[in-house]
Assembly symmetry: C2
Homo-oligomer: 258 residues x 2
């Protein structure tokens, strides 16, 4: 079955070749940046660079929008599909309905939960894919495609996908931001962030092996208000950081004292 | 050189045998819980269980307090040391001065930056140790002992240790708490926390390999206020979680937009 990609970013960079290695054939790549499209085509068996979003005469059946979240609406407004073409987006945060602009008769979500980097090889087998579609036949087609690259494919509801994306924001974006703040503190106090890396690795390892609640330690967990006060005093030069410290610590204190 | 341990928790469980494998000999273990002391003694070459904190006739030179932070003062008030005994605590958060209660002539901090679990083997070689002492000779003795088990030994100031501990709270306790909240969200929405684990592992891996700022993604990083609003609406049933979402997201928005 033929597939076309709209977008040539980090996700398309890995997903298109992965599909190309199964029963699917990626035959077209469109990107606002033609150079990027060309580079991705170079990773595929028989694909061509597509210069416009007019796919009305395309031999593809499946069209995968793999662009940044804020560009999906624009693509959906511009794209022209062949009759019966299936239009998919790959976003965790955008509702299925953003695809309605396209007038495509069949629409769905094809969301791999992972962060991608061009330079880093990806094994899709262990990456969970989440499928959403209001149309049974479309869902079957998309499920089959997802299962061709991953062992972990799930159909979820729109509300579940929203919850999953919020859970991912806490688990990925916010954990990473805690590391960014930690790094700032080391830098501002002439300490080396390297020193924290074994602790970070072991904490995450423990948290994922046991469970976050069992891996929790520290002054807030112990309810040590004296140390929390001392830390807040230390952080007072930056109100926002102090506020972040305060709300998270309070939440930990409440969670483990009750 | 002979060493005595006060405490038989997760840290002592690993540190005492590690020292025992070098030129140091752990000869006594005291613990409020005699069973725990006995279990730790079983991991050592020639140690005895000590039944009181009166070490006045001890053959040890170094006394390591490895108890929970809130018990250090109490131990320091009760302990009796031989003349010239060196008293150390292993805490990141307690000032050196809490040891003053002991009247020990030589005091220091011997702080390994890691989280320990009894069931999990530890390689101290890569764990950074932070040494603090007001007395040059004591510092030399403690530095030598730390270097016997770790390749990463640093002398730091009291203010630096405080900053390091706060950085560790963000990097370890708070990242772990983000995972706890994430897990709650999956549970409350009939999702499986397992699905997030590849994303979490990859995010931390990227953050530690590149840098947290380069690894950041998500709606707040992109300044996508529409999605942030939708997420806040979703989270409104729990005011504290919504507040945590709001302050961290705002901080990310400000950081990457300026």
């Amino acid at each position: 079955m033929n597939v076309s990609f709209i977008g040539s970013g980090n996700l398309a960079w890995h997903l298109a070749p992965a599909l190309d290695n199964t029963a699917y054939r990626v035959i077209e790549v469109y990107s606002r940046n033609r150079h990027h499209a060309k580079a991705l085509v170079g990773r595929l068996y028989q694909a061509d660079v597509k210069d416009s979003l007019d796919f009305s005469t395309s031999l593809s059946r499946i069209f995968i929008i793999a662009v940044s979240d804020d560009a999906i609406v624009e693509v959906s407004q511009e794209i022209v599909l062949p009759e019966d073409g299936i239009l998919l987006h790959t976003s965790g945060s955008q509702p299925l309905e953003v695809l309605t602009y396209s007038g495509a008769s069949r629409q769905g979500v094809f969301y791999p939960l992972q962060t991608f980097t061009k330079s880093k090889k990806v094994d899709f087998q262990d990456i969970p894919f989440f499928i959403e579609s209001e149309d049974d036949d479309t869902r079957k087609v998309v499920l089959a495609m997802a299962k061709s690259v991953s062992r972990k494919v799930y159909t979820i509801s729109p509300d579940q996908r929203k919850a999953l994306h919020i859970a991912a924001v806490f688990a990925s974006n916010f954990t990473n931001h805690m590391l960014a703040i930690s790094r700032d503190i080391t830098r501002d106090n002439k300490l080396d962030f390297e020193w924290l890396k074994p602790l970070i690795a072991e904490t995450i390892n423990k948290s994922l092996t046991l469970a976050p609640d069992e891996a929790q330690t520290g002054p807030a967990k112990r309810g040590d208000l004296e140390i929390l006060d001392r830390h807040l005093e230390f952080l007072q030069s930056d109100e926002t950081i102090a506020e972040i410290y305060r709300v998270i610590s309070q939440h930990i204190v409440d969670r483990y004292s009750s």
